[in-house]
């Protein structure tokens, strides 16, 4: 009994419930006529699309900046990179690399400014990050209309100016990672390309956290006063972590676009931070501690629920409540993390 209790407390009750729920869905699935193989492939495809955005939470959590509700800022850098890459007219895999390349300077500049801002508002980062995200999305909405893009695949056909709300990545980098080294076993489809891409960046972050600078960053998050007393510039470490998070956010959205097949502009990025935040929390992270396994477990659990609920629910009670359930689960998870006493100090 004691063992069970300690297991539950170390694993976290909500995580256990969610994992149990997902398992239940998978058990029910065959009985209501859903092919498990297809469901797993779907989950994995979504994992590939979303995992880097979840990874983008890690550096900021490590440096004590809290959950990165300002993810839209990184997404905007990604969008700028994506649109600029398409504007050049380059197609195929090269356009993906170009998009990464173009988004990098934006991510660094925006991340730097964002980091400086967060340093001045220590203690209420999360609230301000949320609104920085929102206002930058709204600001960019104006920009998408004004900026002088001209590629016919992107601008409105009738007026010849202003970008469309959704832009297809077909012919550019749609499915580029997904189709790379894609294994097909019956109905099961595993894209090694996406998984390797994620693994590469997960490894980079893991390795970074083992270097001198990474150690300093963790210490800043763990106890900023200790770090300061050890001669670490707390503000510098935090800014660095924000830049990293922003850049990963940019990469994350590019990865998402290649899997989804479309670039979503305007209000599209507005609420994209919430799924990523709750995914990492479901994975067992707290407001000030997160690891790579948290990212992997969280993304699989979260995306598993998102893919499985609609199909199972639909076949079971012929009602699609999945969207509502998703809202309740993801926001409930964030709420749980925020109200936990043993959580962070902020």
């Amino acid at each position: 009994m004691e063992k069970v209790k300690s297991f539950i407390s170390s694993f976290g009750l909500p995580r256990l419930i969610i994992a149990g729920f997902l398992l239940l869905l998978f058990i029910i699935a065959p009985f209501v006529g859903i092919r498990v193989g297809a469901s797993i492939s779907d989950t994995l495809a979504r994992f590939g699309m979303n995992s880097i955005m979840v990874l983008a939470m890690v550096p900021m959590i490590h440096s004590g900046c809290g959950l990165n509700f300002g993810l839209p800022l990184g997404i905007i850098s990604g969008l700028l990179g994506a649109t600029l890459s398409i504007e050049t007219g380059v197609t195929g895999p090269l356009s993906f690399l170009l998009a990464i390349l173009y988004s990098t300077p934006f991510a660094i500049i925006l991340g730097w400014g964002y980091g400086k801002l967060l340093n001045r508002v220590k203690g209420s980062e999360m609230m301000i990050a949320t609104y920085v995200g929102f206002s930058s999305v709204a600001f960019m909405s104006i920009m998408w209309l004004i900026l002088p893009y001209s590629s016919p695949t992107m601008v409105w056909g009738y007026s010849g100016s202003g970008l469309r709300t959704t832009i297809s990545t077909d012919g550019f980098y749609s499915q580029i990672l997904h189709n790379f080294l894609c294994l097909r076993i019956g109905s099961l489809e595993i894209s090694l390309g996406e998984i390797l891409f994620f693994a590469l960046f997960a490894f980079i972050i893991w390795a970074f956290l083992h270097t001198k600078t990474g150690t300093a960053m963790t210490a800043v998050g763990s106890n900023p006063i200790f770090a300061r007393a050890s001669g670490i510039s707390v503000d510098k470490q935090r800014t660095l972590s924000v830049i990293m998070s922003t850049w990963l956010g940019a990469l994350g959205i590019l990865c998402y676009q290649q899997g989804y097949g479309f670039i979503q502009l305007y209000q599209g990025p507005m609420y994209m931070a919430m799924p990523a935040v709750s995914a990492i929390l479901i994975g067992g992270a707290s407001v000030n501690k997160a690891s790579i396994p948290n990212v992997i477990i969280g993304t699989i659990l979260y995306q598993g629920i998102v893919t499985m609920t609609p199909s199972v629910m639909n076949n079971l009670i012929h009602t699609d409540m999945s969207e509502v359930l998703r809202i309740i689960v993801s926001n409930g998870m964030i709420l749980y993390a925020l109200t936990r006493k043993s959580g962070a100090s902020r």
């Binding site: 083992h210 001198k212 600078t213 150690t215 963790t218 001669g231």
Partner: protein, 523 residues
Amino acid sequence: MQSVSKEYNGNPVLKDVNFTLKEGEVLGLVGENGAGKSTLMNILFGMDVIRQTGGYGGRILIDGKEVKFASPLDALKAGIGMVHQEFSLLPGFTAAENILLNREPENKSVISLVFGQRANTIDRKTLQKKAIDAITKLGVSLDPDMLVSEMPVGHKQFTEISREISKSSIRLLVLDEPTAVLSEKEAEMLLKAIKNLSAQGISVIFITHRLQEILDVCNKVIVMRDGRIINELDAAKTSIQEMAKLMVGREVASSSREKEERKLSDSIIMSIRNLWVDMPGETVKNVNLDVHKGEFLGIGGLAGQGKIGIPNGIMGLFPSGGSVTLNGKNIPLGDTRACLDSSMAFVSEDRRGVGLLLDESLEWNIAFPAMQIQNKFLKKYLGGLVKWRDQGAIESVTKKYIQQLQIKCTSSKQKAKELSGGNQQKICLAKAFALEPKLLFVSEPTRGIDVGAKALVLQALKQYNRELGVTIVMVSSELEELRQCCDRIAIVTDGAISGILPASTPSEEFGILMVGKSMKEAK
């Protein structure tokens, strides 16, 4: 009070305390930090800490009847009021509002019949009147409409006291260091106010470090040391010297241990000029100090006088100014990195807040500063581009210190928060030792740790100083401890050095230095 005693975790902190207080009498309570004054007052006031740590022994009698307070509220009902060192005031409220906080007079109205008591409006006029009554009773000038945030410190203090005496049943008022934050003029006003109260039949227990004040207002003085009442004196017949001597003097004469008089090196390793530090509660105003190479310098003084602020300010943990030179080179103040780079290290008095990464392993705690400052315990790849944590080296250095300092832990990977206070302190020392500093600041190294660990920590420091020739500056509230380890001891009073004496000097002289200002008057 009859034979009151109290233990914390088996450590007796109060032994057989007896005293009586008459109506309208002013009792002065003096003693070093840790002498048991606060514990005694906590018992009297029924504070939660006492009950949570197992209650107390002995009896407290009021009007001949035994009382046992379950909470401070009970004590309040019995007419005991206490003014703590920290203000407990609301900055956005006026003096009057603060004085009658949560005891506001109310207008009864029909609405409150529906919505309950709290829907009563507040009767501003009566509130004002009651507040003025309390202020007049105290006999000070205080504007009841002034916002607390705009008041000088003295007025805040008066507001606090007015609040206590506005309670109708007040019979005994405990003042804990009320004058510490006041200017001389304000202190004078307060002393007058105390006399006023006593004339109105309210008894006062007055805790202070300023002995002159005791002579000025008290009828009776109790000197406490090591949890006992050492002596009860008639304030009219005693002197500052007598009290100071009783405060610090130990029966164990200094002769019991042989004191090596070491010759100090002439070269000065660090010189401090006009240092000020803004550390809340430990403000340093104007410190000038020279530290000799290889010496073990102690910094003592009473709490709140600024001794702790000195190392914290130099190491850049709190805003500071002035000039500090190390080996003739100027050290930029407020730059922790520069201090660490020039081979200084600091063991903070705030173990859990500043000293440790509580959520990380011992390995991290010990190796972290040395890794960050001196690039130790790192493996370099790609021509130094990638600096990788060297797990092996970190582990071995941690094991070395675990052994050397006899740190009790399950493994070097245990989390720092799981260790006991004494072992945490040793981790902090190990952290500083790993930096191999030339000058080491140690602040309150024995605070809150048990006797065994205490001796070990002090021994380790002494050894480090004697064998490796590292200069150590140790700040401590315990004079005895300083006298054991140090070559010289500087005493800080009122944010400045009031004197530096060899450690072999009798403790009375330190005592007189500690009470500071009154020294001149005493001689």
